[in-house]
Symmetry: C2
Subunit: 184 residues, 2 copies
DNA sequence: ACTTTACATACTAAGCAGAAACTGTCTAGT
DNA sequence: ACTAGACAGTTTCTGCTTAGTATGTAAAGT
């Protein structure tokens, strides 16, 4: 967006990513700016130089990471060469599967627990994801809306049922075979 | 089991049902034996006459209610006249849908929060439900296991997504249409 | 087959003061 | 374009005391 710095890779982005990681690990409230600064290898006043407050930092970190994920998902789904089921599996894995399991840090969790801190980008991200998936599914299925809503429910359910990411992927692939009747 | 009383309807059963209702409303820990006794319209020492301890009462209440539910579900699914989708909708509604929403008391919740208090009947109830559903689905579907596991994931997901029971039912019916390709 | 009353023991919730930690800011330095 | 250090004001945590409540048992009654 605007000019921000002199580093080869924008420093703000690196800080945003490590910040959300830290927030996700311990929760928003229990994560101190000191901890975020240490994880980003800068000083705490330096962190306040980059972001006006803890709330702003969290808001921007959430928007940044969700934006990245949605962009990656859009690219995955746009690759018309791959089979639809494969694209959907990778899209849902990126959206939800990678956050499944006790080892994974729960990014969606920390976002859900602090809805008041999020901006429109973050709030609308789930709807944006649903639209991306619907667009990808539409050409292949008779009732895309119902199919996508069902897949979203499966994903939410698996997030609670699956013990880890690989189980999420296995079970979601199975669901895709059930929901997409021999597409292709 | 042993001889228990003189009432036309076994008093223990009435107590068990009102007890689980009370436990579900406030949680196990925060429900006093006094509250259970009052809800059952007996005295607290009278409650101890019927059940040796609070833990035993909870265990038996859970087993009793789950047994009732599974019996009702078995009957619903066994009615071969009704279309499969209708039977499945009613079965899942009874198993999960009726507990969706802020007004509903969360029986599954209080069971999940106190796993150490449950006996085998209660612990095995989810597996028993899955078997009942699988048996009902098997004659109509090529991959019954996958279809049932998917429906279970949808149900878990909807429990978190749906605002109330009627939304659960609508969305689950939609999922049934997606999963069961024009059965019948 | 229960009820009422009562009791010992254990747990838990409430309040509260002191300690600690956190946020946001500032200054001085490089 | 930052770092180091420090500071005021506020929020959170900790340990403690005390009061309230819960469990399980028992006695006596109907």
């Amino acid at each position: 967006m605007t000019y921000r710095g002199c580093m080869p890779v924008d420093r703000r982005e690196a800080v945003l990513e490590s910040a959300l990681e830290t927030f996700a690990r311990h929760g928003y409230r229990r994560t101190s700016m000191e901890a975020v600064a240490t994880a980003a290898r800068i000083s705490r006043p330096g962190l306040y130089f980059l972001f006006d407050s803890k709330a702003v930092l969290f808001r921007e970190a959430a928007a940044h990471v969700l934006g990245r994920d949605l962009a990656a998902i859009e690219e995955i789904l746009g690759d018309a060469h791959a089979p639809l089921a494969d694209r959907l599996l990778e899209a849902f894995d990126r959206w939800a599967g990678r956050y499944v399991g006790p080892l994974a840090q729960d990014v969606p969790g920390v976002l859900a627990e602090n809805p008041g801190l999020l901006d429109d980008t973050a709030t609308n991200a789930p709807a944006a994801f649903e639209r991306l998936v619907t667009d990808a599914v539409s050409p292949h299925v008779v009732t895309p809306g119902a199919a996508v809503r069902t897949l979203l429910s499966v994903s939410v359910g698996l997030k609670h049922q699956a013990a880890d990411r690989s189980e999420y992927r296995e079970r979601f692939r199975e669901a895709l075979e059930v929901v997409l009747p021999s597409t292709e």
